[in-house]
Amino acid sequence: MAKIIVVTSGKGGVGKTTTSAAIGTGLALRGHKTVIVDFDVGLRNLDLIMGCERRVVYDFVNVINGDATLTQALIKDKRLENLYVLAASQTRDKDALTQEGVGKVIDELGKNFEYVICDSPAGIEKGAHLAMYFADEAIVVTNPEVSSVRDSDRMLGLLASKSRRAENGEEPIREHLLLTRYNPERVTKGEMLGVEDVEEILSIRLLGVIPESQAVLKASNQGIPVILDDQSDAGQAYSDAVDRLLGKEVAHRFLDVKKPGFLQRLFGGRE
């Protein structure tokens, strides 16, 4: 049976789609057959980040309405054998999703894939609710700032009470905290919440800390999941996170301020 993982946050713009793309790609890189589903109906982005926007014919809503089969709608990644994307509809809104319809699609995907990554829209309304409803695990993406932490906290409450597992009285959703856009320098200056602060408030296990990085924006604009950029700190951090998700013990990196090297100090260069 496939693992359904929702990537959610409550707050917008914290990096849910970037994370969905990176984690999904990372799992596929490690040989697991993975599909990433965009639940952000009406504000479709995942296809851009994955670089498959020109090949979208049918979407999630078409499949729910029975206008297309899953096989027709799934877009195969050009880089990786095991990776597929199910795009959201750009012309519809969240009301096009029904619990029954989403359940059917997720069940069918579950038969063919090892991992189903659900990229949740922001908010706590219907789209976000349906994205997390069927989940087995949740990656809660949080920025190190108070409003994002508060929204994540709210989301964790919903994960514990409004999911299928909660309603059926099954084992609760496994929750992971992914801290993104982390800037150790600003943490030291007291301008940003530190890892410990966020961990203490949310009290869930830390899956990873993704440093604030130029590489993320560049990757998004090029349509290449940042995890494929193995030279970048963000790419490496996502890679570690995927390993932890698969149960490996990996030490956390990029938590401390980088001391500028001798040459860097000499020339005052910045990357």
Binding site: R150, D153, A160
Partner: protein, 241 residues
Amino acid sequence: MSQADLTDQSPAFQLKGSMLAITVLELASNDIERLDEQLAAKVEQAPDFFNNTPLVLALDKLPEAAREIDIAALVSLCRKHRLRTLALRASEPSHLEAAAVLDLPVLPPSGARERQVDLSSKTPAKPAEPVYRPTRVVTTPIRGGQQVYAQGGDLIVLAPVSPGAELLADGNIHVYGPLRGRALAGIKGDTSARIFCQQLTAEMVSIAGQYKVAEDLRRDPLWAEAVQISLSGDVLNITRL
């Protein structure tokens, strides 16, 4: 009278306005015999109720055609059924005259709503036996936006309570973790309810409706400490655990 008494300037009385619940006998007919019969039947139904009960006789709702009524006879009829007429409620000149003769105060006709007195429950119901309600125990974090209510008892939380979360209990609240949300104990008015927590960083604490918000709590030297909160009078006391 002694000299001391004359110089005692402390007031001997106080005038106070007060709202009283009073039974109003509103007449719909001027047939005194019929009234006698029906009153007798009522008395049998609820003997406790007719025990020198103060009463206002309302004549203002009598139908236009039946305004003629012997008020003296009416008052003595009430007396017979152990109802003590305090006043009349009337506006008809003939009624006012009769009231003056009987030396009864007159109240203006009412425009306000009145409740029908329910006589069906003859004896006051015995207070319900206190039911044992097990304490509600929560072991998972309570997140922002979640509300937990322990009805009729205590609430124990063995996990952090996030900002924006709300704990409610008719009894005490215990939090064995940081309390960052709101805690409202004794919400049905139990002033002896208390709040116990390992780390007071609450947005608000309240006992029986008396509350303090974070703005005030923050100034307390016991902020972020393990404390208990109790109510004395209308002051919330925060003491170290």
